[in-house]
């Protein structure tokens, strides 16, 4: 069903209001297979609201989120039944939280964390599950002998990498990332970004990355959307937007980054 010339995700005038206050308003864009979209903006600009609406964590007030499903082709996930949407979020979608603690089960070993999605879609062979979990730990640069350790014994960067492994083990096609490098120190950030970039290229993933860190989008994103007060004020190729910002707010954002 899915073809390269057909958008994987198509968002049409998505809006979310918190009472009279605007969460995000009339956001529309297409995301093609293998493409990475960055969403930047200051705190409170509506980027996390937008991400949660797309991922089905929040119900949008208006608009469509059309996903090109494997079985039935393009379908509006907002109108989908909850079991279908939850199934989608266990198989074809992945969500990487800013805080690894929100996305991991802290009381369950690393192997169990990675294996959960496999078991949720019906894997019932312990040896296979463990093998896959170990393999994925190594792919995110966690040594295989930590497979039985709990995430509480991991450093922040390792927890974040574990969260990524846990999300990618079922081979999703679309990854939502909410500030994946937030709260990590710069060298760990760099390693994580390198890893994510490698995984995105290798697996041909599409991703939507919400961040306020322009360096992250510069490294990872093909395209960029700049948000302010719930509206998209500028969109385009990443290098184009960052090197030649047109909107006053984009110019402010780009010039706010300290040059070391």
């Amino acid at each position: 069903m899915s073809r390269a010339d057909q958008p994987l995700l198509s968002v049409k005038s998505l809006s979310k209001f918190y009472g009279a206050h605007i969460g995000c308003k009339d956001v529309s864009f297409d995301l093609y297979p293998g493409e990475v979209m960055g969403i930047v903006g200051e705190s409170g600009s509506g980027k996390s609201t937008l991400l949660n609406c797309m991922a089905g964590h929040l119900a949008p007030d208006r608009g469509e989120v059309v996903f090109d499903t494997r079985a039935d082709g393009p379908r509006d996930t907002v109108q989908m039944s909850e079991p279908e949407r939850r199934m989608l979020s266990r198989t074809d979608w992945a969500f990487v939280h800013q805080h690894a603690r929100d996305g991991l089960r802290m009381g369950v070993s690393a192997g169990g964390n990675v294996g959960e999605r496999l078991m949720a879609v019906g894997a019932r062979n312990y040896g296979d599950i463990r093998g896959k979990a170990t393999d994925w730990l190594q792919r995110v640069e966690i040594s295989a002998d930590r497979v039985d350790d709990r995430p509480t014994t991991f450093s922040g960067g390792m927890q974040q990498r574990l969260q990524i492994a846990r999300n990618l083990v079922t081979g999703p096609r679309l990854v939502f990332m909410d500030e994946p490098t937030g709260g990590l120190d710069v060298s760990v950030q760099a390693r994580l970004l390198d890893l994510v970039r490698g995984l995105v290229r290798d697996m041909g993933l599409s991703a939507i990355i919400v961040t306020h860190d322009l360096a992250v989008v510069r490294l990872l994103a093909d395209r960029l959307m700049v948000m302010k007060s719930g509206h998209v004020v500028e969109a385009g190729l990443t290098d184009q937007v960052l090197d030649d910002p047109q909107h006053a707010y984009s110019q402010l954002l780009v010039s706010s980054v300290l040059q070391v």
Partner: protein, 302 residues
């Protein structure tokens, strides 16, 4: 207050109707936890308040009632609940499994096979099998309704990765009729195979958690497992010290402070029945008991 001031089986008729409705709903949807308005009972939570309410709702004046606690008829919990219904319902009570029509149990299924005219009532402390994996009730309900049970296997996975085998030995989760995952109350997993395809009605009452669930007769109940780590009903690898039974679930009893121990049937009625038929275990012989008491003083002298 005189004893006759109680309504039959303690609860008032409206309450019993409410509980019966929950039971019927539970029987109609095997394994589904039906909420009910659990009443305060004259005993603390954890002592079988759920089981007592279910028993009260199903008891008839002409019924014979049996209570077991960990298989035994003579432990505090069993004795007090039995006396409770003797007083408030004036029903006949028995310790014989085959003679009872309603059996209230805590943590065991009788060894003797049950029949179609019997009801087995379980006392349940925590009815939610997913509770320790997912603390939010709103979320566990959603997981049940959407049949998302992957998390249950995460628990078994953790067991194997930590212990090399599935170490859960009681309250072992079962899947009922390929639909609901159910906590069979803290029975040993040795009893799990008896849950499925049983002739008797099985009712589960959780008083504090206000839930009732049920297995109608001959219901499919399959213990969860992995393909390469299949479910195994385990028991202590000994014969019963008193009756010699090889097929019954055993309690370990410490008999002295020198490491001496014996294994006896946890189902006291089963054990007594076997001994009445003439079966004798290795440690039951009275002359041998005399021999141990004889040697003991000698050791102390040394």
């Amino acid at each position: 207050m005189s004893e006759s001031a109680y309504n039959f089986a303690y609860l008032d008729e409206q309450t019993k109707r409410m509980i019966r409705r929950a039971i019927l709903k539970g029987l109609a949807i095997p394994g589904y936890q039906v909420p009910f308005a659990s009443r305060e009972m004259p005993m603390p939570y954890g002592w079988g308040t759920g089981g007592v309410q279910v028993s009260a709702a199903v008891l008839h004046p002409e019924d014979t009632f049996k209570v077991i606690d960990q298989g035994a008829d003579d432990t505090t919990n069993a004795v007090s609940i039995r006396t409770f219904f003797e007083k408030t319902a004036q029903v006949k009570t028995t310790t014989r499994t085959s003679e009872a029509r309603v059996i209230q149990t805590r943590h065991r299924i009788p060894e003797e096979g049950l029949t179609e005219d019997q009801i087995l009532v379980y006392q349940v402390p925590i009815p939610e099998p997913l509770r320790f994996l997912e603390p939010r009730e709103s979320e566990t309900r959603k997981m049940h309704s959407l049949e998302e049970y992957g998390l249950m296997h995460v628990k078994l996975y953790e067991d194997i990765s930590r212990h090399g085998h599935i170490a859960t030995s009681y309250a072992y989760p079962v899947k009922v009729e390929d639909r609901y995952v159910m906590d069979p109350s803290p029975i040993p997993k040795f009893d799990n195979p008896k849950l499925g395809d049983m002739a008797a009605i099985q009712l589960f009452g959780a008083g504090r958690e206000q839930r009732i669930y049920a297995l109608p007769p001959y219901t499919k109940a399959v213990s969860l497992d992995f393909e390469d780590h299949p479910f195994e009903a385990s028991k202590a690898d000994h014969p019963c010290g008193l009756c010699g039974a090889e097929d019954s679930y055993l309690d370990e009893v410490i008999v002295d402070d020198e490491g001496g121990r014996m294994f006896v049937c946890s189902d006291t009625d089963y054990c007594e029945g076997r001994r009445a038929k003439g079966f004798v275990g290795a440690m039951a012989a009275t002359d041998q008991m005399a021999a141990t008491t004889m040697t003991k003083p000698t050791l102390e002298v040394l």
